[in-house]
Amino acid sequence: MIEVKNLVRTFKSGDRTIKPVNDVSFELEQGTLASIVGKSGSGKSTLLSLLGALDKPTSGDVLVNGVSLAGMPDSKLTEYRRRDIGFVFQQFNLIPNLSAVDNVMLPMEFAGIRKAVRLGRARELLEQVQLDPDKHVRRINRLSGGEQQRVAIARALANSPQLILADEPTGNLDEQTGEHIIELLSSLSRDHNTTILVVTHDRSLANKTDRRFRLQQGRLTEEGARNRAAAGSPA
């Protein structure tokens, strides 16, 4: 359960202040697949970075299962990112000189999981995201964009986080590959009971999610909700 309360993030650029996140509040039940749409520069990435503790809000708070991120020391925020959050980026952001399996093992290494266990789980996750087994040990920079994004999703799942934050995960992919990725995220949120918040400009992708938000000049509004499963959000 994620609760966002009156979240504000302002930036000063010169003598002008901009508010890409302006008093945003919402709640997400565990296991929800939600989307945020909005024009470029509307503050989507900024909002996601606040939810994932990559950045700190100017004001407001994020509560994860009732625990407030505001005022958490940096070491606790690192632990929060490692344990509770999985990121999927538009640019994939994998470590280019490591293999697919090594990339997926990385968050587990940071969590102190034994090597044998890491390896088994990484291979399992790469199978779940349907990466060919012969590509598991291939270096990242020798994989296609779609394959890289599958590896990135496997990495996001590595430590079984509660919340996956995906920032335009299909932005660098062709339409068909993008659709596969969204289907993958959708099935994962069901199978793992993971909350997934995905940012996209693609309407048709957004329409496949349980809850749809729109961000306009830092303000968040929810569009007509649709229940995907019995578990979901209030109508």
């Binding site: 994932g52 990112r81 990121f87 470590i95 490591l98 990385l106 968050p107 940071f110």
Partner: protein, 483 residues
Amino acid sequence: MSVLARSVGNAFRNKVRTAAVVAVLAVAIGLALAMLVANQAVAGKVAELNASVGTVLTVNPAGGQGFEGGGEPLTAEQATTAASVPNVSTVVGTKALRLRNADAAAAQTGGPGGLGGQGGPGGQAATTLTTSLTAAVDAGTLGARNQASTGTSGTSGTAPAFSVPITATGIGAEVDTTGKALELTEGTGLGDYTAASTGALLGTTLAEKNGLAVGSTFTINDQSFTVAGLFDAGTAFGNNALYLTLPAAQTLAELPGELSTMIATVNSMENVEAAKTALQEALGSDAADVSQGQRNLESAVSSLGSVKNISFIAFVAALATAGLIILLIMVMLVRERRREIGVLKAIGARNRTIGLQFVLEALVLVALGSAVGAAVASFASGGIASALISSNTATATTVAGQRGIPGGTPGGFPGAPAGGFPGAPGEGPLGGASQLLTSVTASASPGVIAAGIAAVFGVAIIGALVPALLTARIRPIEVLRGE
């Protein structure tokens, strides 16, 4: 995949750049190691020279040395006075005795000329005693000549077979007559050297000649002594000698409180000159002669000292350069991988994990640089050291030549029957010193190389720590840069 494996992988990410960095590091590290090797070689030589110059001052009665010359004997009170001179750390008194084999002495007494006196002209004949021991040295030409010049008063005719005397020295500490610690090869010392005892230390050849071992007994003036230990002085002359405790020797000579020489040890090399003057003043020039060992090495020591300093400065400079190279390379790498560091933080890496990864990567580069640098140093250090030394020796020789510093053979042991006149200095500018300078061999010993590499790693860790700490300041939001 561990932090270390990742660091090694990262070190080879850009192979061309890695090769360039390693090459530059190897030059700096190689130079540092070569300088350290040169420095150590020279330092070793300086220590050796200092040890040979020594910190020992010998005090003889004014006008006398050993069994030669004349003057008034030294006394225990003078030893106390000497010990209170500033910078003099210890004073050891000795009492020298001449021993003659009882049978040989008896045979000679009947002969023409008799045993007119073993002492030198105006010397100290009273201290010649008889013993059951036979000298380990044959008289030979030199012995016979010494006997003729110092012994009988101009008697011609048939001199009987002459036997070389044995030197017995009463010592106040376990040192030889030059102040050097005795090297015992067997047995023990005499315990308290300031108390009379019937123990004796024999030179190895003297003991062998007389078939004595530790525990055997022999006599001096019909008094029985027990062999407590054997020593090796390293010379045939030195080994034809024995040592007693100082009071035992004084009792045998029936001259309690009288000393033949005093050996004063000065606390450091720098103070030797001042202590010598002070000692001479304290004892009075009419009562005592204070002399020092070899002095011709001082200029060699000081010119080598400057080589030592130059090489040390160069070592530190090269080391600092290596550290700086690492610092700059790592700062560059951190800047280049800002976004990647952001990724690592976004997926939950701790600051220290990332910092460690960068330090290890730096150490991989340093390890490669050290391997190549050590190879370079082992070839170059000999040449570098000799170049440094030859340029400095040229100056030293000129200076020494102008000063006319006497060199050559050190004086023999005072009163040595086979050693010529005591302290007779060889002539010639600088003498052996220039040979000592060129004999510095700078071989790259594994120990020195290892110490040098340890220093390189120490500096590299410091050089890498700064950029590693910079990674801690990179915020995880960097991962979104450029999106």
